[in-house]
Amino acid sequence: MSTPSTTQKTASPKDAGPGARSGAVRTGTDASRGRPPGALRVGLSRGWVEIRTFSREWEGVLFTFMLPAVILVLFATVMGGMFDMEMSAVDYFLPGLMAMGLMSVSFQTLGVAIAAEREYGGLRRLRGTPMAPSSYFIGKTILVLFLALGQVVLLLGVARLFFDAALPTGVTAWATVAWVFVLGTVACSLLGIAISSLARTAAAASAVVTFPFLVLQFISGIFVPTVALPDWVLNAAGLFPLLWMAQGMRAGFFPEEMAQLEPSGAWDLHLVALALGTWCVVGLVLTLLTFRWKTRKDG
C-alpha cells in the first residue's frame, strides 16, 4: 500500500508491519530512540525560554520588575524634603522596596504566569512531551533567580547612582541581605506556584495574586513605617513573609541604632529566619498538594 488512496482501502485493518508502507519519512522505533534528554539539560533550556518570553511581556516587565524602582524614585524625589526618620528617604525605603521587589518577581510573576500557562494549555502541552516535571521547575527557578538578581542590581543601582544611597557595610550586613534574599525569594516563589492553582481562570489570577500582595505591601512596613502601624495590623502582617523579608533587609541596610524603631526594638533575625524558613516548608507542601498540569474542567 505504497500510495494510499480512498479507492485502495480494504475492509480489514492493514496487516502491514512498520516497513510495509514506503515513504520519505521514517518513524523512529523504540530501540533506536534512547533515553529522553536529561532533566537538567532540558531545565536549562527552559530557563532560557522563560527569560526570553518574560522579557517580551511588557506588562510583566513594567508591573513586576520596574515598579519597585519607580516607587523608589518617586519616594526619594517627592519625600526627600519632608522626611524626619533621621535618614534620607531613599535610605529608608530601599530595604523595604528590595523585599517588595523580590516578592514581586517571585510570588507575583509565578502566580500570574503559571495560572495563564495552565488555562491556555501551555502546561498541558509540556506534559505531552517527555520533559521531566523537574525541568519545568528548574526553568522557573532560573527565571526567578535571574529576575531577583536583576531586581537587586536595578534597585541598588538606581539608589546608588541617582540618590547616593547608603549600601550595607561589612561582610555580616551583606551576608544578612544574602540569606534574607534566598529564603524570602524561595518562600515567595513556592507560594506563587501554590496560589496559581487557586485562581480558576488566568484573568482571575492577576486579582487573586495582586490583591493580597498589595495589602501586604501596606501592612508590612514597605510604604508605611512599622512604628506607625497598630499592633493588630503588625500581628496580622507577621503571619506572612513580606514583613519578615523587609525586616531582614533593614537589618542588613540600616545602622544598628535603627533597630529601636522595630516593633520589638531589635532586628530579631532568628525570628526572620524562622518565619521565612517556615514559609518555605509551607509553600513547598502547598505546591506539592495543589500543583496541576491541567485546569479543573480538563478533569
Binding site: P4, P18, M131
Partner: protein
Amino acid sequence: MSESVIEVSDLRKKYGDVEAVAGIDLSIERGEIFSFLGPNGAGKSTAVEILEGFRHRDGGTARVLGEDPGRAGRAWRSRVGVVWQKETMVPKMPVRDVVRHFAGYYPLSHDPDEVIERVGLTAKAKELAESLSGGQRRRLDVALGIVGQPELLFLDEPTTGFDPRARREFWGLIRDLADGGTTIVLTTHYLEEAEELADRVCVIARGRIRAVDTPAALDGRASAEATVGWLEDGRRREVRTAEPTRVVAELTGRFVGEIPELSVHRPTLEEIYLGMINDSDRTAEVGDGGAQEAAA
C-alpha cells in the same frame, strides 16, 4: 504480521452518574490512520484522552505502544505525539526557535527546519508564533506534535479553521506520516476528512462504539441503495434502488438521447453517519425507558 499499537478492552469512564465511555473495545494497527467520529459529548474525546495518558479510566484495560497509558513514563511519551483540539499556548518566540526548543525534549527528533517546511511555515519561521493566523497556529501545533518523530500521533480536530487548500496540503502531510509508519488517531467533525484519510473509521455515540469499518463500507454503505433521479414531464422523479445500473438502462430506453438531469446518488459518509447517530439516539431513548422501567 500485524502489530497492534493500541489495544483497548471494555474501557470505561464515568463523570458523576454519566457514563462518558461505556465499554469500548478497539484494536489499532501500526501505520493505520484511524478516525474517531461522533457527536459532541459522545465520549470520543474522553476515550482519546485516556489513550493519550491525560485522563484516568475507571475500568477496562488499555495498552498503547505496549504500555498502560495511565502509568506510562517519559520514554513512552517520547514515542507519542499529541495535537490538541484547543488552542494551546506556545512560548512567545519565533516559530523556528519554538520548534527547535521542543525538539530538545525528545531523544530522537526531526530537523526543526525540515518540520517547519513540511507544515508549510518556512515563510513564517522567523515570525513570532503569536503573530500567526489560526490555520498557521494549527500547523505549528502539528509541527510540535511531530518534531519528536512519534510512532503514534493523536490529532484532535486538526484542520479546524483551515481553508480548503491548506486542508488538502495537511492531508498530504498526514498521509506522508502514515506512509512512514506513524500510526495516526484522528478525531474529526469533517466527514470528508475522515473519508479522505482514514483507513478505518469508528463511530462513537453515547459512550459506545456503533461501528468500526472502512469509510467505504461503514454501516453497509457499499451495498446501500442508491437514488436515481431524472426529469420527466417537467417533474423531478427519484427511485431508490439496489440496482442503479438497471434503472439507468431502463431509462435509456424511455428517452431519446440524454436523460434529462440524470443523477445517481450513493449515500455519502455524512449521510451514513447521520443515519447511525439518529438511530443511536432513538434506540438510546427506548433503552433508557426500559432501564427506568426495570429500575422502578
